[in-house]
């Protein structure tokens, strides 16, 4: 199993355990859509594989494809670890994901329009008013305001996982500014350079048109009668962990990247960039700054990142914003529980992609269940992200559980409980240990413009630590290229 003996060819073998393994149906028997890949890898010597791996790492570092980790006194730049073994999704599975995600984004956009207008779903008793109004990112300020084409979430990065049977489940919808898409594109570039022949043989669907779709979705929300809309990416700045991505997208679309201090809102309620030739009007912003910080006049007064008066321009219809203000309400994990109900309510359809089984301590019955069974559940704070503010029952100590029970009892509205899902595993290069099975998830990127466009594949994140279920880049996660095939094998 060692990959360090340069004479031997590549072999991927490890204990499959109790998990759903993406590559192997049973020990030694690959699933049909991985067969081709395994044959090609078997032709590689371990030395060749290592050379390719080192070349890819070096090229990521030299190109500065990095993210910033906070926590220490000074933040450090790291490359996002990349694993050379691609995750493969056959055509039929991708079709299932695609229609499920389309259904979901439609329901979410209808929901957002509804809650910021008539609030029919509240009046009909599907979603409790109390839940809506206590949602952290619910923005009363935009009630009654129309957004272009009634689209709120233009760019969505839904997190998908697979359970021990291999069923695809939605873990969360990221409807604010999901990141990671630049890694999806750079991973593909790196794989094409490392394994050019493989691509010719495998029939992998391309992902290069992401930025074209993004740009046309952004132009789609330009103020009416704008002939050649000026689009820009609004970033919090160079110290933001996703700054690389902001630049990457701006460069791919051929638009300016701006910071708050580059923009001014004038008396005419239009937004302008400061340029060396004077002020220039901006029509659409792809903003990667949270609602809270985007306009110190309207939201947090202490924000230095935002643009005073931006909301005035937005209200006046002189500026398109993607994503719209107020989409964070759908990222509230309590609201997530209602998405299947939204699909039924707005679309009169059964959800194609189910949620993870979830309890709402907000409901008395679920509260007692959660408290009694916490050692068997995963309990999460409704408004935290990145793997923070949660407890994994089976892994927690008695004291930790007791402490968390008190937290949930004190504010049941702020928590949800879920069955722990043992995420599917995928063969991954593990240094000296050779290859091992590591847990993965999937974040497909959905663009909602004139049409819904979902890039085939997405970002597969992998928890590199043995046994870990946390795939977040800030906590030891890495990524893989994700291949959607033109066929089922």
């Amino acid at each position: 199993m060692s990959v360090h003996n340069s004479e031997t060819n590549m072999q991927i073998k490890y204990d499959l355990g109790e998990f759903y393994d993406e590559m192997f149906a049973s020990p030694g028997v690959p699933r049909p859509h991985y067969r081709n890949l395994l044959e090609r890898f078997a032709e590689l010597t371990a030395e060749e594989f290592n050379l390719k791996r080192e070349a890819v790492d070096l090229s990521f570092l030299q190109q500065g494809i990095t993210f910033t980790v906070y926590g220490d006194q000074k933040s450090t730049e790291r490359i996002f670890p990349f694993d050379l073994i691609p995750r493969i999704i056959p055509k039929n599975e991708w079709h299932h994901l695609k229609i499920g995600l389309e259904q979901r984004i439609q329901a979410l956009n209808l929901f957002l329009h509804d809650i910021y207008h008539e609030q029919k779903i509240i009046k009909d008793g599907i979603v409790p008013r109390e839940i809506l109004e206590s949602a952290k990112h619910f923005r009363k300020e935009i009630i009654g305001m129309d957004v272009p084409n009634n689209i709120y979430i233009h760019i969505c990065g839904t997190d998908i996982i697979r359970d021990d049977k291999g069923a695809y489940l939605v873990l969360e919808d990221n409807g604010r500014s999901p990141s990671g898409v630049s890694y999806m594109i750079e991973n593909r570039q790196a794989m094409k350079k490392a394994f050019p022949k493989l691509f010719q043989q495998m029939g992998v669907r391309p992902i290069t048109d992401y930025s074209d779709h993004l740009l046309s979705a952004l132009k789609h929300i330009a103020p009416k009668n704008t002939l050649n809309p000026v689009v820009a990416v609004l970033t919090p700045g160079v110290y933001n962990s996703a700054y690389f991505e902001h630049c990457f997208l701006a460069r791919q679309m051929g638009v300016e990247i701006v910071e708050g201090r580059d923009l001014v809102v004038q008396q005419d309620n239009c937004v302008y960039m400061r340029t060396t030739e004077g002020l220039k009007k901006v029509d659409v912003l792809y903003r990667r700054i949270d609602d809270d910080f985007i306009d110190p006049e309207a939201f947090r007064k202490d924000s230095l990142l935002g643009v005073p008066g931006l909301m005035r321009a937005y209200r006046a219809g002189n500026l398109g914003l993607a994503n719209a203000i107020g989409t964070g309400v759908a990222d509230d994990k309590v609201m997530y529980c209602f998405v299947p109900d939204m699909i039924k309510y707005y679309l009169d359809q059964e959800p194609i992609l189910p949620n993870v089984e979830t309890w709402l301590p907000y409901r008395e019955k679920d509260l007692s269940y959660t408290l009694e069974n916490m050692e068997n559940l995963v309990v999460k704070a409704a408004n935290e992200a990145g793997g923070y503010g949660m407890i994994i029952g089976p892994a927690a100590s008695k004291e930790e559980l007791a402490e968390f029970r008190e937290k949930v009892k004190a504010k049941p509205r702020d928590f949800i409980a879920q069955t722990p899902i043992s995420l599917s595993r995928h063969p991954t290069y593990c240094g000296d240990k050779g290859f091992g099975g590591r847990h993965i998830d999937l974040r497909p990127y959905i663009i909602c413009g004139e049409k819904i466009k979902i890039t085939p594949g997405g970002l597969t994140r992998v928890a590199l630590r043995e046994g870990s279920l946390v795939v977040n880049s800030s906590q030891g996660g890495g990524s893989k290229d994700t291949w959607v095939l033109n066929s089922d094998q």
Partner: protein, 342 residues
């Protein structure tokens, strides 16, 4: 072009030029010291003092270090994180500026800056300082030249290019002045005034500007003060002479504003035009003794003023919009900020 982008292009280029020149200075100094008759540590510090003084860094150095031997000076000039003009700090600042605008520059430009940064970061500072690794100095210079070449051949020769040119030429002209200025400090600190020492010092200065070969082609005779000054200030053809750099700067400024070179359209252009005249119409007497010192100081001050005016006109300070009344303009100029300083 965004004001912020113009600012970052200017500083990216200026910081790289600064790093290169600091390496040149340290390199020349160390090579000169190798040939010096006195090798003891405190004597060699007396050689370093003029250089540190001309860079305006003597005080910071003496605050930071108890021991003043060559290793520490080299460490201070090249690697120190506390010295904001050290080669490492300059490259880190150049990289930060490049990172802010990496969507605007070519990926080759970004990669060479990033490589240089990683190279510096992974270099063993002790090894370079103690064993005088001249190969290291050459590498840094070559990276800088590589960056200039890559910029020349991968970056559109449009507006952004002119801001890069402004940053580079201001820094280069300034550093040539400071190198010349270092000679003044050398004279006062050295008791044993002898012709051969004087000669060696002037030769070292020329080498520091990569100017020795070019100088020899024009002045076949000995290296002497008046000629070196004339050459490094007045040459119209040597790319590191003060006049040459400032004329390049003038061309860049007028390309940005599209104003004919016979006129000026802003304060930066006016100051540059005037400075060129002062240099061009100087007499031999202006370049002798105290006159030379006065002249060099004046050029340094004017360059600083020009940099400020460029910043005011094109970068953060003013909103150029006729609809705004002057009061609002003032308010905005107070709140806007520039992330860099010289």
């Amino acid at each position: 072009m965004l004001c912020r982008v113009a600012d970052s292009l200017f500083w990216m280029s200026r910081y790289i030029e600064r790093a290169e020149n600091t390496v040149r200075l340290a390199d020349v100094m160390l090579q000169t010291l190798l040939e010096s008759e006195h090798a003891q540590d405190d004597i060699s510090y007396s050689h370093w003092q003029p250089l540190l003084a001309s860079l305006g860094e003597q005080e910071i150095f003496e605050d930071l270090y108890d021991s003043h031997d060559s290793h520490h000076v080299t460490e201070f000039l090249i690697f120190s994180r506390d010295n904001h003009s050290s080669v490492f700090s300059s490259i880190a600042a150049a990289r930060e500026n490049a990172r802010m605008i990496r969507d605007q520059i070519s990926s080759e430009m970004w990669e060479v800056i990033n490589k240089l940064y990683l190279y510096l970061k992974n270099t063993d500072a002790k090894q370079v300082c103690h064993e005088l690794n001249f190969n290291f100095f050459r590498q840094i210079k070559e990276y800088s030249l590589l960056f200039q070449g890559i910029t020349e051949s991968t970056f559109p020769h449009q507006l952004g290019y002119e801001f890069i040119e402004c940053g580079r030429q201001i820094e280069r002209a300034d550093k040539t002045c400071r190198i010349l200025d270092a000679k003044r400090y050398m004279k006062t600190t050295d008791d044993q005034k002898s012709d051969s020492l004087d000669y060696a010092q002037w030769a070292a200065l020329l080498k520091g500007c990569s100017a020795l070969d070019a100088y020899r082609q024009i002045f076949v005779a000995d290296i002497e003060a008046a000629n070196v000054r004339k050459f490094l200030i007045l040459s119209r053809h040597f790319p590191r002479s003060v006049l040459f750099c400032i004329q390049k700067l003038q061309n860049a400024l007028h390309s940005i504003s599209q104003c004919p070179i016979t006129h000026f359209s802003n304060e930066a252009e006016r100051l540059v035009g005037r400075l060129i005249s002062i240099i061009k119409y100087s007499t031999d007497k202006d370049l002798e003794g105290d006159g030379a010192t006065k002249m060099i100081t004046e050029i340094e001050d004017e360059l600083a003023a020009i940099a400020i005016e460029i910043n005011k006109r094109y970068m953060f300070s003013e909103i150029i919009d006729p609809a705004l009344d002057t009061e609002e303009k003032k308010d905005d100029s107070v709140t806007s900020q520039s992330q860099t300083s010289s």
